[in-house]
Symmetry: C2
Subunit: 313 residues, 2 copies
């Protein structure tokens, strides 16, 4: 059953002993919203803990709360559109007993008993702020830091098309509540590790242009990981680089895995459909961002990928 | 004499036949504010043109208005802290006859007859929006595109420490007035010309670390401009790169000018004061972003700059 903010707030006020689930490979919105909600519930005198399959990345550790001891009764999922996103282990334990899901993905599968979904929100954090208002819980600096992190990370620092006037106004409110906006933005967007900076330099050197310069391809090899001291965990940000070059409609980042095989990340501008390109190789994703596995032969893989891209251009 | 927004608005309402000056090597705030103000004045039935020493960069051409024919009577400077920033030619012509300066640099030299300065504004565009409100001029989509461009470019897409709750609320208002926020952000922040991408690659290769890796220095030479096909007009974005490396407190970009002399752009994190460093070399700017001219001897200039930075670290 779907509920609005008032309905979700009434549910939260009426229950206790919360487990708040974040999605696996957590980002700033699932963690900011999860720990923000956890702080709100505790401020209401309730018991609440956050659970996430993976270790919390270094750049989010300041959001974390220590666990409280209690017997869990109520399960809330935050920013989770599908139970598979909970990750193995967490999924088996909680999939069928989520009481309330708070999410901003219009594609949410409504797998929970109650679903509070707003597809127009740029981040789940927008819904958590609305819940704090509805519950009359004052937004402390710590809550504001969590929720500002959600707003800014899910919008690429207010850059993407999902930003609405409401997103900006809620950001203003979080700053007034004490959020360290500049510090959070610096940590999330302005800081590169030295190893990433070295990898990026090597990756940019590898950039090639194809198809009348409408396609740019970066290749990241295991040798580059070794030379830079970086590794695959830092490679995600590279994927956005080739599409940034003027005139490029399809940006491809091919990275070599430790087993020698290759994987492609494809980023496109409309109307080119990245998921359509990647589906030809058994992969998938969103319209403007998708991925697929390639074989062990780089030249062959690149040629096949470029042929598929050429058909879409 | 300094005036507040109401005083500046009264002046603008009382005069006509405006020349609006932008600073040389124009950025999104001087142009967005200049053309935004020009549109506001024309909406009031007045004559107004914008003047800038340099050609308008491609990514701002959508802001431009065609010139009107009239005899100029009133001179307004926008986002110009010092007459030297008008650039040779414009400076000689206008320096001593600026009637009103609208600016957000606390360091503004108050060289104009009337000065409307708000050092707490993240962008001059914040003052122009306040003037539109005061003058009761409805903000059209075209005006909103100009002023959103000013807000977003001077804040690194709402990333920097100069952003206040007011900045976010004004951005929300501009979006409601029709500003194409996502399109503007893509053009300003997600798109690199091929020549810039090539320059960036060379610049990153030149990066050196000093002072226990707390200072990173990029050097951009005329040879790099030639090799990449780029030029000084594209160099501003380079200045943000050295400070992005983890642990770096002071990022310096030294660029060689066509006359062989060098110019430094200094970006710092608190508590390091960039303007204090640059003032040692006759330059200036903001606390976290400043610039200065250096001599023709790169090694000597770099050593002097590093000594000054070392004192601040």
């Amino acid at each position: 059953m779907t509920v609005d903010i008032a309905g979700a707030a009434a549910f939260l006020a009426a229950h206790d002993n919360y487990i708040i689930l974040c999605h696996e490979r957590p980002d700033g919105d699932t963690l900011g919203s999860g720990y923000g909600l956890c702080r709100i519930l505790r401020a209401m005198g309730k018991k609440a803990n956050v659970r996430c399959k993976n270790e919390i990345p270094e750049k989010f550790v300041s959001l974390i709360l220590e666990d409280q001891a209690f017997e869990e009764q109520t399960v809330v999922a935050v920013d989770i559109a599908d139970p598979s996103l909970m990750g193995a282990g967490i999924r088996e334990q909680y999939e069928n007993r989520v009481d309330l899901c708070i999410d901003h993905h219009a594609s949410n599968r409504c797998f929970s008993r109650l679903s509070c979904i707003d597809g127009t929100a740029a981040a789940a954090a927008e819904l958590i702020i609305a819940l704090a208002h509805e519950l009359n819980v004052p937004i402390t600096k710590e809550i504001a830091d969590c929720l500002f992190t959600g707003l800014t990370t899910d919008t690429g620092c207010f850059r993407y098309a999902n930003v609405t006037p409401r997103t900006h106004r809620l950001a203003a409110e979080m700053i007034e509540c004490g959020a360290d906006a500049a510090g959070i933005n610096t940590r999330q967007f302005e800081t590169k590790t030295k190893t990433y900076a070295a990898l990026e330099r090597l990756a940019l050197e590898s950039m090639e242009f194809f198809l009348n310069e409408r396609c740019a391809v970066i290749t990241v090899t295991q040798e580059m990981f070794e030379k830079s001291g970086s590794n695959e965990s830092e490679c995600d940000a590279i994927a956005s680089l080739p599409r940034q070059v003027e005139g490029v409609k399809v940006g491809v980042t091919i990275r070599q895995r430790t087993d020698g095989s290759y994987k492609a990340s494809v980023r496109t501008y409309d109307p080119v459909d990245a998921s359509l390109i990647c589906s030809r190789f058994g992969g998938g994703g969103h319209k403007n961002a998708a991925g697929c596995q390639l074989g062990n032969d780089l030249a062959q893989a690149k040629a096949a990928l470029l042929a598929a891209i050429g058909e879409q251009l």
